[in-house]
């Protein structure tokens, strides 16, 4: 049995009176790929953002790599962590956004090496070497000197993946990584993600790409109205759904 990488225990989140997450519990073991599917507004992106504490949760606990996210627990009392400690926890979790969020004033290579140099303390030489090898890994070895505005959406997203990988994360979060892309550019990004999965990276992917989920995911979870409706292997959830809501959703997207 592999080590548990993510352990979410009845995670609750609300904005005012609007309950976005109503107690989500799941675990992801090391090397596993989990795909989260569900209608828009179901809370799947919010859940992902709770995992690296971009959103604070209102209830429940999130453990990543055995560490409670955002808080120190002594006895039954929770203490908020200092921003510095939270920043350290986030270093182990890479995140890829729907809208890429590359730093527009830096070249592709600078985007990748900024955090390794400024946060992880790599030397310029080491960082550049790492950055170049990551660019090669995502198929953009010759694009290092390009600014994001000079790259296509698919290229930008691959640079964003390389940027997240540069911090040597133990877990990668993907928040609808292909939703903002032109259809013909989706494939390149998914290929990079498949490569990562094959190399043993632990991944949680919020996606509408059912083909990707079916092919790559070890586990698929269907979330609706802030709750897990169904969870299982891609075969179980996508091909033989048990719940009416899952069936209705899959009918619409497939």
């Amino acid at each position: 049995m592999n080590k548990i990488m993510v352990d979410a225990r009845s995670v609750k989140k609300n904005y005012g009176t609007n309950q976005v997450l109503r107690g989500i519990s799941l675990t992801v073991t090391q090397g596993e790929v989990l795909c989260i599917i569900g209608p828009s507004g179901s809370g799947k992106s919010t859940f992902l953002r709770c995992l690296n504490h971009l959103e604070t949760v209102n209830g429940g606990r999130i453990y990543v790599n055995g560490e409670l996210m955002g808080y120190r627990e002594s006895g039954n009392v929770l203490h908020e962590m200092k921003p510095k400690e939270i920043a350290r926890q986030r270093q182990a979790i890479g995140m890829v956004f729907q809208r890429f969020n590359l730093f527009p004033h830096m070249t592709a290579l600078q985007n990748i090496i900024e955090a390794p140099m400024g946060v992880a303390g790599l030397s310029g030489e080491e960082a550049k070497e790492l950055g170049q090898s990551l660019l090669t890994q995502v198929g953009l070895a010759d694009k290092g000197e390009h600014y994001p505005a000079q790259l296509s959406g698919g290229q930008q997203q691959r640079v964003a993946i390389a940027r997240a990988l540069a911090m040597k994360p133990k877990l990668m979060l993907f928040d609808e990584p292909t939703s903002a892309l032109d259809p013909e550019l989706v494939g390149d990004v998914l290929d990079v993600m498949k490569g990562l999965a094959k190399a043993g990276m632990t991944m949680i992917v919020v996606t509408h790409e059912m083909g990707f989920a079916r092919e790559v995911a070890d586990k698929v979870v269907f979330i609706d109205k802030g709750q897990i409706v169904e969870m299982g292997t891609p075969k179980e959830v996508l091909d033989n759904p048990q719940e009416a809501r899952t069936k209705a959703f899959l009918n619409k997207v497939l």
Partner: protein, 298 residues
């Protein structure tokens, strides 16, 4: 770019005529020329005096002082403004309140009044000292007029006033940066301060520089107000000379000429800065995108 090739179905049409463009343009030109002629032919302006004083050493020294004061004040003001803007965006209500109070106070009172206040600080507090409050421990003390000569008073007044205006410009620049940038920085484990320095401020600069250029031009002209506390800048030099030879109009022309030259020249470093911080935002020819961005005031 290659010329598009001519093909037989290209449109060939007689362009629409715009007679009123010509008429309005000519009227404007005639008005301008007659005004210039009126100035040139005015008997009351002695043109040889204008040329005589244009390169007078006192005028040139005054100009140097104007430039130095402008640069020093803008430098201090932009740093203060950045601190104020960050305070105003802070989670800490006391910081927000203090920054707002500072901005309101220095924007809400006339600049001339502030200059006179700092210039005459010695009358309110004849002695300045640095020590621990509410104790007898004093590290340093001195006459106010020694510690704060007129030029320092002038720089303090202009810098603080300018910081209040520029703070809102910097704040607008910070707010213009997409929230996703901060999230991406956070997800990479960057601290708040690091994110501000490396990610947010460099992008904000692109929005900040054009209005700050405007402010610099305003500052250059506002240094002439320092005449009231006898700082030897350009306008003071001109008015000192005209107080002796009574050629007020001629020396106004002289100083006006130099102010115009200096404000025009200031446009060059601004364009260079705009290109520097426009990197990555405009792909075409590596040039910064033109921005229609002006801050009107005064």
């Amino acid at each position: 770019m290659a010329e598009p090739s001519k093909s037989p179905d290209d449109i060939i049409a007689i362009p629409l005529r715009h007679p009123w463009r010509w008429v309005s343009g000519i009227i404007a030109l005639v008005l301008l020329l007659s005004f210039i002629w009126a100035l040139v032919s005015a008997k009351s302006i002695q043109h040889e005096l204008v040329t005589k004083y244009l390169f007078d050493v006192r005028i040139l020294q005054g100009m140097l002082m104007t430039l130095v004061v402008t640069m020093v004040c803008m430098f201090i003001a932009v740093i203060l403004a950045t601190i104020l803007a960050i305070m105003k965006l802070s989670q800490n209500p006391l910081q927000r309140w203090l920054a707002t109070g500072f901005i309101e106070f220095f924007r809400g009172t006339p600049l001339l009044l502030q200059i006179v206040f700092w210039g005459y600080l010695g009358i309110i507090f004849p002695e300045l000292f640095l020590g621990i409050p509410f104790t007898d421990i004093i590290f340093f003390s001195g006459q106010t007029s020694d510690v704060i000569p007129a030029i320092v008073a002038g720089i303090i007044a202009l810098s603080l006033n300018e910081a209040a205006y520029s703070a809102e410009i910097v704040r607008a620049g910070i707010l213009a940066v997409d929230a996703g940038q901060v999230e991406a920085a956070k997800s990479l484990g960057m601290s708040g301060g690091y994110t501000m320095r490396k990610i947010v401020l460099p992008q904000a600069m692109r929005v900040i520089i054009p209005p700050i250029g405007n402010e610099t031009i305003g500052m250059l002209k506002n240094t002439s107000l320092l005449q009231v506390i006898a700082v030897a800048e350009l306008y003071t030099a001109a008015s000192t000379i005209s107080a002796q030879n009574l050629a007020q109009i001629e020396l106004l022309v002289v100083s006006g000429f130099w102010y115009l030259i200096m404000t025009t020249v200031l446009g060059f470093p601004q364009r260079a800065l705009e290109r520097r911080y426009g990197r990555g935002f405009a792909v075409v020819g590596g040039r910064a995108a033109p921005r229609a961005f002006k801050v009107a005031r005064r």
